[in-house]
């Protein structure tokens, strides 16, 4: 059974305007998105800025109000207001993008990591401290770190503190919103390796949100591409990288810089070709408003947004 089921998720933001500040329209940040994630897998959500990928993640944790649609977590509806009970929320945690701004600069590491524990579990001071030490060990930080403040750590270390906080309550699902975008490659490698390790250790499920296709290819089992609030393509890693069907996906893949300088000219030519194809066939892949069509199944795992035939 899927651990997370998202059905027809819509998140609209009102545009206020006019004399009485009435709602004059909506920004459809997430427009009818459905997917499900299996236990223990990593699901990648890719898109450019403004595609709605982060909003989708935030809606699942409960940081955004949902306009329509249903989110089922282990078969239970977590969308309705009533069910925003604490217990459910503890199983879904989030790792934020920027390790510099997502940790309170005036709190010590001990208090940062202990905060979720204080919210959900009744532990004595010494038990709490013990748990924090365990968590720090798990993320590979020194036990002395508990007395330090966030500014005393490097970017990678800070991101580990964020991870320690996220796994403090032994969650089942972690939403990682661009967890490595702010980091150098070497530190990025460290955090990615580490995320894979704790995934195995704790049997975690990840929703991995990123704009970096290279990282997504490395981490994810299934991948979805978003464009202006809608899915354009969804499939396994193999489907997306070896058999991309939608022109937008092709364009994204063509845009990844090639690490081999010998391919430079070929890559340049390929990119120009895809760009031409993108411009020529834009109307075939997007509707009159420039939005993606509904998804069509092209294989058991692979779905692409194409106009209905006929």
């Amino acid at each position: 059974m899927a651990i997370l089921d998202v059905n027809g998720l819509k998140v609209y933001f009102p545009i206020k305007g006019g004399v009485f500040n009435r709602t004059v329209g909506h920004i459809k940040a997430v427009d009818d998105v459905s997917f499900s994630i299996e236990q223990g897998k990593t699901y990648g959500l890719v898109g450019e800025s403004g595609s709605g990928k982060s909003t989708t993640g935030r809606a699942i944790v409960g940081l955004e109000n949902i306009t329509a649609g249903k989110i089922l977590f282990e078969g239970e509806d977590i969308t309705s207001r009533k069910s925003k009970t604490k217990d459910m929320r503890k199983d879904i945690q989030m790792i934020f993008q920027d390790p510099y701004s997502s940790l309170n600069p005036r709190k010590r590491v001990l208090d940062i990591i202990a905060e979720p524990l204080q919210n959900y579990e009744k532990l004595t001071k010494s038990e709490e401290k013990q748990r924090v030490y365990e968590l720090l060990e798990l993320v590979g930080l020194n036990p002395e770190s508990v007395w330090k403040f966030p500014h005393q750590f490097s970017g990678g270390q800070r991101q580990r503190i964020g991870v320690a906080r996220a796994i403090a309550l032994k969650p089942k699902l972690i939403i990682a919103d661009e967890p490595v975008s702010a980091l150098d490659v070497s530190v990025q490698a460290q955090v990615l390796n580490f995320m894979q390790d704790i995934q195995k250790e704790l049997d975690l499920t990840y929703l991995f949100i990123s704009h970096d296709l290279g990282v997504v290819e490395h981490m994810c089992d299934e991948i979805a591409i978003m464009y202006r609030g809608r899915y354009v393509e969804q499939g396994t890693r193999k489907d997306i990288f070896e058999n991309p069907q939608h022109i937008y996906t092709k364009r994204l893949i063509a845009a990844i810089p090639d690490i081999n300088p010998r391919n430079r000219d070929a890559q340049y030519a390929f990119r120009q070709e895809v760009k031409r194809e993108y411009e020529d066939s834009f109307d075939d892949y997007f509707n009159a408003e420039g939005l993606a069509y509904k998804l069509q199944n092209i294989s058991d795992t692979h779905r692409v947004a194409l106009p209905e035939r006929g």
């Binding site: 150098d184 070497s186 490698a189 810089p257 430079r264």
Partner: protein, 336 residues
Amino acid sequence: MSRKLLEIENLTTSFKIGQAYYAAVDDVSLTVNRNEVLGIVGESGSGKSALAFSVMRLHNRAKIEGKIQLEDVDLVKATTSELNQFRGDKLSMIFQDPLTALNPLMEIGAQISETLILHRPKMSKQERYDRVIELLDLVGISRPEHVYQQYPHELSGGMRQRVIIAIAIANKPQLLIADEPTTALDVTIQAQILDLIRELRDEMDAGIILITHDLGVVAEMADRIAVMYAGQIVEIADVHTLFENPLHPYTKSLLNSVPTEGQDRLHVIQGIVPGLQHLPRTGCRFAARIPWIDESVHEENPVLHEVTPGHFVRCTCHSHFYFPEEGKEEITNGNT
């Protein structure tokens, strides 16, 4: 080659922390030729941006020693008024963050005109307007007349970066420094901006210093690459040599930490880039991050060695380097 444009010799840029000065750029020498892209890579804290800012002389209170020879002028010795003549004219810079580099209260057209007014005072208003439109067109902005009257907040990130580039190339600079020009942008926009920079290089016959931490970007753009670590250049070579036969342990480690196909575990460089005050000023600066390598293989005062023509590498430790997950024998065999 007589196409040499910029020659940096023994450049040291130091910042004052407390009572003492600490070098962020430590004895760097390099050259940039015309119609060449020199890539500078390294982690944050390696001194690559400090180097760029030194060439532009944008540091406020830093101590700069050495020589930065741009054609017939030494920028280190130049006075502020001389510098103001060069900056934006012969020498210009593309900044990382397109949102903070533009004035939010000024129309796009006016911001581009500013540099023309300063360096081409004899231009008539009409000529200037035409040139701005031409520039906007050149950087691939459609409807330039419309964008001329817009404000930065009305443009997307990619468009803003194009405006920054338009400003930087307004006076056809001979040397263009691009400091992480695409880091803040989406991949498709990044690809467009990189293609644009490449076209400009050919068109203007300019030398470009491209600073980035993204190895994919330098692989696609650069002719030569300098790898910086802790303020020093640790390896410099043409792009093919550097990617096919990297020598310095730092270069190898960086290349191994990039996710590529069919790779299960990424390589992690142990430890962190030391802060300015804690930098070891003697011995191999990378030694602390490869502790499994025998200390005796490092030079006492590592210098750059020319291994093959044009390929320089610092310290002798590279010939004894192996990754901890590999056997020691394999590597020594591979290198002989």
